[in-house]
């Protein structure tokens, strides 16, 4: 037994509100959503407001007015989305995704890696950095 034949019983693909139908112009809300994502990615990449405004062909004032949340929390928004994707992949049995979620903060894809990148937590990290720095100085990497 299977699904009965006939056009009425064929599975249909329903598009969610955020998806753009092929051949149709995206709505204003969809365009705004895409721009939000773009701003958040630009903030995550470290671009300044003037550069993002130039990319989106907006004035800085308008950018600040329209995307205040993304400008302020862009890094966290992108990171949270990536975490959601990792979680979905982990639920599907992806071991690498599970490891990435379970790895300690500061490792790949975990919150705090961006803000804390370059901030050694305490003595041990600083010792490692000092050892590497001595190697650089004595090895003449810069010379």
């Amino acid at each position: 037994m299977g699904r009965p034949k006939g056009s009425k019983n064929k599975p249909r693909l329903y598009l969610t509100g955020e998806e753009v139908e092929v051949g149709k112009k995206p709505t204003a809300a969809q365009r705004h959503q895409a721009m939000k994502r773009q701003v958040a990615l630009c903030v995550h990449d470290g671009m300044d407001e003037a550069s993002i405004a130039a990319v989106l062909d907006l004035t800085v004032e308008k950018l600040r007015a329209l995307f205040a949340r993304e400008l302020r929390h862009g890094r966290d928004l992108v990171r949270a989305e990536e975490l959601m994707r990792l979680d979905a992949a982990s639920a599907d049995g992806n071991v690498a995704a599970s490891k990435a979620i379970l790895s300690p903060p500061g490792a790949t894809g975990k919150p705090g890696a961006g803000a804390g990148a370059g901030k050694p937590s305490a003595g041990t990290d600083n010792d490692r950095i000092n050892k590497l720095a001595f190697r650089t100085i004595n090895g003449g990497k810069n010379g």
Partner: protein, 132 residues
């Protein structure tokens, strides 16, 4: 570009020649101690480009910046949000003998603003360096 000759090594860092022992003890060594304890990349980068600091400590700060960056690369972490080329350019010449400033404890390539406008200036040498 040859490196500046050193007269001694303090905590793994070479101390440059042609400076009085009093300066080495009171300024250079405490500065090296300070940089060795410093862990924040932003502060290290700022220190590396500060012309008022001893060149030995600035070079150490630069090496630590590079070490932090290299660690992030090797551990496949997110790269620190800092322009390493700019940091290297700001401090790299401090170890060059050819570009060593004859009258100040810094490099001739170091960027310093006009003293009249109150921009920070490097420390003047007690006695200018002899001509090469």
């Amino acid at each position: 570009m040859g490196d500046i000759p050193t007269v001694e090594t303090y905590r793994g860092v070479g101390i440059h020649n042609h400076q009085p022992q009093e300066r080495i003890e009171k300024v250079v060594k405490p500065a090296i101690d300070y940089v060795l304890d410093l862990g924040q990349l932003e502060l290290l980068a700022q220190y590396a480009g500060d012309v008022t600091r001893p060149p030995e400590a600035r070079l150490l700060a630069l090496a630590k910046c590079e070490a932090i960056f290299d660690l992030a690369v090797s551990e496949r972490r997110e790269r620190p949000a800092i322009n390493m080329e700019q940091v290297i350019a700001s401090a790299h010449s401090a170890g060059s003998n050819a570009w060593r400033d004859r009258r100040y404890y810094c490099s001739m390539l170091d960027v310093r603003g006009p003293a009249l406008l109150g921009c920070p200036q490097p420390v003047r040498r007690e006695t200018p360096l002899p001509d090469a």
